[in-house]
């Protein structure tokens, strides 16, 4: 796995963040909003790496986050030397794409006219720019595909990766997710969402109008058919069926983070008795946040460690993980619901 997020880069940063729990977000002045917006941004220092980004001179933050996370996933796997790049595929999920560069491109149209716009900005404003750079940096010669959806892009990316592996189209697949912050997006978040005044995303409030702290980042997984010593977990994407989370030795992670409206549907899901947690308050509200939660879940399985919920507001008295505890975790189930009550899951198994 590889990850770039507000708490840094790499699995050690992820582990540290899960151990430390919630930290206050940054606050940013956004033109057009009356109050400062709490956000979890990726720092400029995190995106500095001359070696990995050698071919990314013109790349924007959207691409840089992706390239770093993808490269780290390969290194982290221990398989860097043995991967056949002709048989390696890349699937990237994004909800909003490289919107910052899209608006930079529109600046060109508005300021200079249709005939004097930047070709560099245009070619980086397309959703598949990240996959292109990941392929160029890592010399990936298998199929590359970018998909977009506001809720289930990551889940469908996993589904497709499994299909590619099953039909032997690839021997391994880099599956990633990336979404970024940006001024216009922050303005829209401030207008359309409910920014958390205390900076805390409260997954277990199951609110009809949940609070949000917009975040950004990228996370990648290297998936193979066979397990290896360095493997974190077996992965299985699936559909949500109500009542499918009985009490047991698993851990249920809910992907709600204030980004998608009414979260009351999650209350039904947690009623089955399985211990629940959510690490979304560590990552922020990201539309492809399910990928980040899956990374946390994979670490839970690998380390056999249930990390404490970073935000433990629990008005409905759900059985949540309130302390970090080592102990057997047979599987982790990540759940994502959309506003119509449709749901998808990612099961991570030891």
């Amino acid at each position: 796995m590889g990850i770039v997020f507000s708490r840094g880069r790499g699995i050690a940063s992820l582990e540290q963040a899960l151990q430390e729990g919630w930290v206050p977000p940054s606050e940013v002045e956004v033109r057009g909003l009356d109050s400062r917006l709490p956000v979890y941004p990726v720092s400029a220092e995190t995106l500095t790496d001359k070696a990995v980004l050698a071919k990314a001179r013109r790349a924007d933050r959207f691409v840089r986050m992706s390239v770093l996370a993808a490269s780290d996933a390969i290194q982290d796997s221990g398989l860097a030397g043995s991967l056949d790049k002709q048989r390696l595929g890349v699937i990237i999920a994004t909800a909003l794409g490289p919107h910052v560069t899209t608006f930079n491109f529109l600046d060109g149209i508005i300021d200079f006219g249709d005939a004097a716009v930047s070709p560099t900005a245009f070619s980086h404003s397309v959703h598949n720019a990240a996959a292109s750079y990941v392929a160029m940096t890592l010399d990936v010669r298998g199929p590359t595909l970018t998909m977009t959806h506001f809720h289930f892009a990551f889940h469908d990316a996993l589904l497709l990766a499994r299909a590619w592996l099953d039909e032997k189209r690839c021997d391994s697949v880099l599956v990633g997710a990336v979404d970024e912050l940006g001024t216009v997006m922050e303005y829209a978040c401030g207008r359309m969402l409910k920014p958390a005044k205390d900076g805390r995303i409260k997954p277990f409030a199951f609110s009809l109008s949940p609070e949000a702290v917009p975040g950004e980042g990228s996370v990648f997984f290297l998936l193979t058919r066979e397990t290896s010593g360095a493997a974190y977990a077996a992965v299985e994407p699936g559909d949500f069926t109500p009542g499918s989370f009985p009490a047991g030795s698993g851990l249920l992670l809910t992907d709600n983070s204030g980004m998608s409206g009414d979260e009351s549907g999650y209350r039904v899901a947690v009623a089955g008795g399985m211990q629940a947690a959510s690490y979304m308050p560590v990552f922020g509200s990201i539309m492809t946040g399910s990928a980040f939660q899956a990374a946390a879940g994979a670490l839970v399985v690998k380390r056999q460690m249930r990390y404490a919920c970073p935000v433990q507001d629990n008005p409905h008295c759900v059985n949540i993980c309130s302390e970090t505890v080592a102990g057997p975790v047979s599987n982790v189930l990540c759940l994502r619901l959309d506003c119509r009550g449709q749901g998808r899951t990612v099961r991570l198994m030891h």
Partner: protein, 381 residues
């Protein structure tokens, strides 16, 4: 199958346009722009204009209706595990210039464009229109988006994820890519000339293509007798450059050979290739060299972009439909715009309407960003 483009509002009109060799291009009328490159706009009005603001969605739903009617399927697929996989480029972006201009100028903007954007994921809209439950994926892979969408659909069916998939893609003619591709200096000021010695670049177009893919078992269960099928899909990345193809074409060659291997088809069994053929100097040279290597210099090659322009996210699906139609009808149109063979390209395109009798065709797509896709389409004998 369903198709809408400048060549025609449906399949029948398109075939008639191909037969007549008519090229419906003209100046941009859909929006104001200082750019005067010729484009291929769809002139026909749309059924869905009042329900959806997005022209791309309207194009796709129009093609969808034709595909459903042709397949004898009801629009209401409630409760059926039907997948939807659509390719696009423009429809995935929040690129409303008025919205952004308002925010830049006033520090405020109405949220309606954002709300429409958040409700406008192409595959999700199609899935909701059909009341389908099943995966709904929007592929944003630049020029190979809808070829890849069909490839995804094939994987879903082969892996038992769905029995039926609505696949394809669409893109409207939009000011943003017009400006963007203009800045990349890839446009021609004249009607495009794919594979021609004197080609100067591409013309932008718009449209949508939809295919309904179904497992054999599901088709038999409802008594349907399919005549055409997707036999194979191959995809491979150049890993070379954001906007230029790998000069040796190795990515495309891998994709083409991969699709043939998957289909169990020899190059000699392919009766024609519907090439990506954008008419840029780079694309046609690289692609032509690969096609000559794989299929031989005598292979029949055409580019239908001379009739539709480059429809970006719709291109792969439209060209898959055109390839399927050609197999069904037994002819391919002249490769509009091709007159003189380029000595630097080992293969030329067909100059006139040509009869074809084989069972298989290949359709290729080369995307900005370096992905290459190839589909093998077959006709049931």
């Amino acid at each position: 199958m369903g198709a809408i483009s400048a060549a025609g509002g449906d399949i029948a009109e398109t075939l008639e346009c191909f037969a007549a060799g008519r090229r419906n291009l003209g100046k941009v009328t859909l929006f104001a722009s200082s750019l005067d490159y010729p484009v291929f706009e769809v002139r026909r009005p749309f059924v869905y204009s009042s329900k959806y603001k997005s022209r791309t969605i309207q194009l796709v739903l129009t093609a969808l209706d034709e595909a459903l009617a042709g397949a004898g399927l009801d629009r209401d697929m409630s409760g059926r595990r039907v997948g939807v996989c659509m390719g696009t480029t423009v429809a995935s972006q929040l690129n409303d210039v008025d919205f952004y201009q308002s925010y830049r100028k006033e520090g405020a903007a109405g949220m309606e464009p954002v709300e429409n954007f958040l409700k406008g994921n192409l595959a999700e809209v199609v899935s909701a229109e059909l009341r389908a439950t099943g995966p709904a994926v929007t592929v944003v892979n630049a020029c190979s988006s809808s070829s890849d969408a069909i490839g995804v659909a094939l994987s879903w069916i082969r892996n038992g994820i769905c029995d039926l998939v609505i696949a394809g893609g669409g893109d409207e003619l939009n000011r943003i890519p017009l400006c963007g591709f203009g800045s990349l200096s890839v446009f021609s000021h004249k009607p495009c000339r794919p594979y021609d010695r004197d080609r100067e670049g591409l013309n932008l177009g718009e449209g949508a293509g939809v295919v309904i893919l179904e497992s054999e078992r599901s088709a038999r269960a409802r008594g349907a007798v399919p005549g055409l099928f997707v036999a194979g899909y191959g995809a491979a990345c150049d890993a070379h450059h954001l906007t230029a193809p790998r000069p040796d074409g190795s990515g495309l060659e891998t994709a083409v050979r991969g699709s043939l291997a998957e289909a169990g088809v020899q190059p000699s069994e392919v009766c024609f290739v519907n090439a990506h053929g954008t008419a840029t100097r780079d694309n046609d040279k690289v692609e032509g060299s690969v096609l000559a290597r794989v299929f031989g210099t005598d292979a029949k090659v055409l580019s239908t972009k001379g009739y539709t322009g480059h429809t970006l996210g719709a291109a792969g699906a439209l060209e898959a439909v055109f390839s399927a139609l050609a197999l069904r009808e037994g002819w391919i149109p002249a490769s509009a715009g091709f007159e003189n063979k380029d000595d630097e390209i080992p293969i030329g395109a067909v100059r006139e309407r040509t009869a074809i009798t084989g069972q298989y065709a290949v359709s290729t797509s080369l995307a900005f960003g370096g992905n290459n896709a190839s589909l093998v389409i077959g006709r049931c004998s």
